[in-house]
Symmetry: C2
Subunit: 399 residues, 2 copies
């Protein structure tokens, strides 16, 4: 007898959500596939010079960054983050912040702390697939609440909170949501926090895009309304995903346990990059970087919306983002955007199909377009290809 991997994996494997990146490899090969799948700053906007400079300064000043220490994260970085959050209306002190490997690890630490197998977790439908990648292996039962143009539908949320067994968490991306780009309006923010309090269910607020608005800032984070909200922030979207530096603002009652959970997960975050980032946040460089990024993304988004109008008017509906990285496109009921993706790839263009953003993974008529990683020329050409592919595939079937 040897190790019976298939038997050992039989139950677990089904619960580990496959990576989207790997699945993309299964599309028809193309030399110049234009990918609308990206959810990251464009390569040419990564502040490599500023970060390289900050890293070099760190090396000279703090070689001890290569050692063990600071499981909660580098205090001056936590202080800089707290100060930025205070400017957004959130009363936070450095001791309320733990540094994580991107907000993805923040979701994971919360799940470690609060979830038992079989617990219910409420998420938006559609929702960020990375959150599903965390909750599913914890054997959580996922309940969904629909999203409309003003965010999570509060009546549907209350039905979920009132039904037994009581959910353990509400996970939400309330600002420039991934994938829909919708922002929860101020009235619903108040209602959501009141409901969470009434039913005693913690809110996990994932906020990667809140600082990347186009014309005006969004409402303050939910965390501004209640200190029991678990807030997740990240530099992956404002600076660079490869940094893997995010943060979690947590109620004080939880902090020591979260630090213990972080140590169990991987001992500590990257101390070198935390120090370099602290330098990057000094002065007004970061604010100017954000202003440039906002203008850049707004321009790309405007172009994408113009192309959508040109290519798919009358055939699809879509959201008009106030910030963030995505447009959510919905084709007529019955269209399967998993199948359509293969057709699109044959035309040299790809998106992320709606199924990725729902716990049940069944095909949907929607898909997500990311506009930040493509140049204006690529956006134009990609949308022309997408228009051709969709008109060819969808129009006849509706005729």
């Amino acid at each position: 007898m040897s190790i019976p991997w298939d038997r050992l994996l039989a139950e677990r494997a089904a619960r580990i959500r496959p990576s989207l990146l790997v699945d993309f490899d299964r599309l028809p090969a193309s030399d110049d596939l234009i990918l609308f799948s990206g959810g990251a700053p464009p390569l040419e906007c990564l502040p490599t010079d500023r970060i390289a400079e900050a890293l070099a300064e760190t090396w000279r000043a703090e070689p001890e960054a290569l050692w063990y220490g600071e499981s909660q994260g580098y205090e001056p970085l936590r202080a800089a983050i707290a100060e930025r959050m205070r400017r957004r209306g959130v009363a936070v002190e450095p001791k309320d912040v733990i540094i994580t490997n991107g907000s993805q690890q923040g979701i994971d630490l919360i799940a470690r702390l609060l979830l038992e197998p079989g617990d219910r977790v409420v998420v938006e439908a559609p929702t960020y697939f990375g959150a599903l990648q965390v909750f599913e292996p914890f054997d959580a039962r996922i309940s969904t609440v629909p999203v409309d143009e003003c965010g999570m539908v509060i009546e549907a949320l209350e039905r979920e909170l009132a039904s037994a067994p009581r959910p353990k968490l509400i996970y939400t991306v309330p600002t420039f949501q991934n994938p829909t780009a919708v922002t929860l309006d101020p009235e619903r923010r108040t209602a959501l926090v009141a409901l969470a309090e009434r039913y005693g269910v913690p809110i996990v607020e994932d906020d990667p895009y809140g600082e990347l608005w186009f014309d005006r800032p969004p409402p303050p984070p939910l965390r501004a309304l209640h200190p029991d909200v678990l807030y997740l922030g990240t530099f992956s979207k404002t600076l660079a995903p490869g940094l893997r530096v995010g943060w979690l603002v947590a109620p004080r009652r939880l902090m020591k346990l979260l630090v213990d959970a972080k140590e169990g997960a991987d001992i500590q975050a990257d101390r070198l990059l935390q120090r370099a980032l602290t330098r990057v946040l000094e002065g007004d460089w970061f604010e100017r970087h954000l202003e440039a990024a906002r203008a850049n993304y707004r321009e790309r988004c405007t172009l994408l919306l113009r192309c959508l109008e040109r290519e798919l008017a009358g055939l699809a509906a879509w959201t008009a983002p106030g910030g963030g990285f995505f447009v959510w496109v919905t084709l007529p009921e019955g269209v399967d955007t998993d199948a359509l993706l293969v057709e699109c790839a044959r035309h040299g263009v790809a998106y992320i199909p709606g199924s990725a953003f729902y716990p049940d993974r069944t095909p949907r008529p929607s898909f997500r377009l990311g506009f930040t990683t493509l140049s204006p020329a690529e956006l134009e050409e990609g949308m022309a290809r997408l228009g051709r592919a969709i008109r060819a595939a969808v129009r006849p079937s509706l005729a």
Copy 2:
């Protein structure tokens, strides 16, 4: 009603093992406490110049390291690791390797993939407390196998494997073990792998110290004996813990699932440091660095053993390491080294008590001394204090 944190945490909190670092803060305060708790290269031996140089080269050549990508890890780094393992007698290809945030995250990914709540995991007693920090939150039932001067006692292991329910994992540090410094001898290595195969239970081989031998290399890793062994390596002990770069060599049947689990945990490892490390591993620099480290640690270990002989002969027994970072000291039966630690701290010296290395956390007569982070002068002074504290506390109680 607000969020009932105490009720929500009631079950989970008890299962998250507290950090040792935080617990050290509870000792009597001292201005110059000499800590034998360290398990890391000394600050002055961190190769900061070489890593700074490699990072600077990386910046110039590969700014795209700041983006998303390579969830399994940077291929050239995986190739360099595979090549090093082949030289140690282990047949590994780059596709068998996944890069992790230190080996701690490797243990966590394995647990995610293979453990169901209530599953049994077999560990050595004593064992690395970081592994317990992983297994306990997964609600694993921990079974222990004693360690003698030749490593895990194989007859005791077989009793555990034969008892129901069948364990899901065997976790072992077979080479210069943490905390005992003991190395599993070649006959037991063969017997361990044969037993694992016979009972169909995967072995997790954690090998942070295997390259840090003093006089002669240890036997090849268990992974050389069977491709189903899950092997964990790290640069935390050979280069610097702050890098947070380790690796997991896994059976091919598991790799895609492990990559998916890595994405769920934190998307990807630090791409910048992976590229810099790849440069550090080029040429013979790393081999020369290892030779210097071995000589350095051997010297400190020799000094520590000489001090032990001087301070505690007749009062304690201890292991004589062939490599690694630790000496395991055992006082007479009945001595409580948790209580003794408070006395030692009053004398200005601290160790990690044996209780930390056992799942049941009950006080033991043993403790761990780490010798790599202290200078010869600190080692001498620290051992003089330890001798005074222990003789004062233990001799009278035995009289």
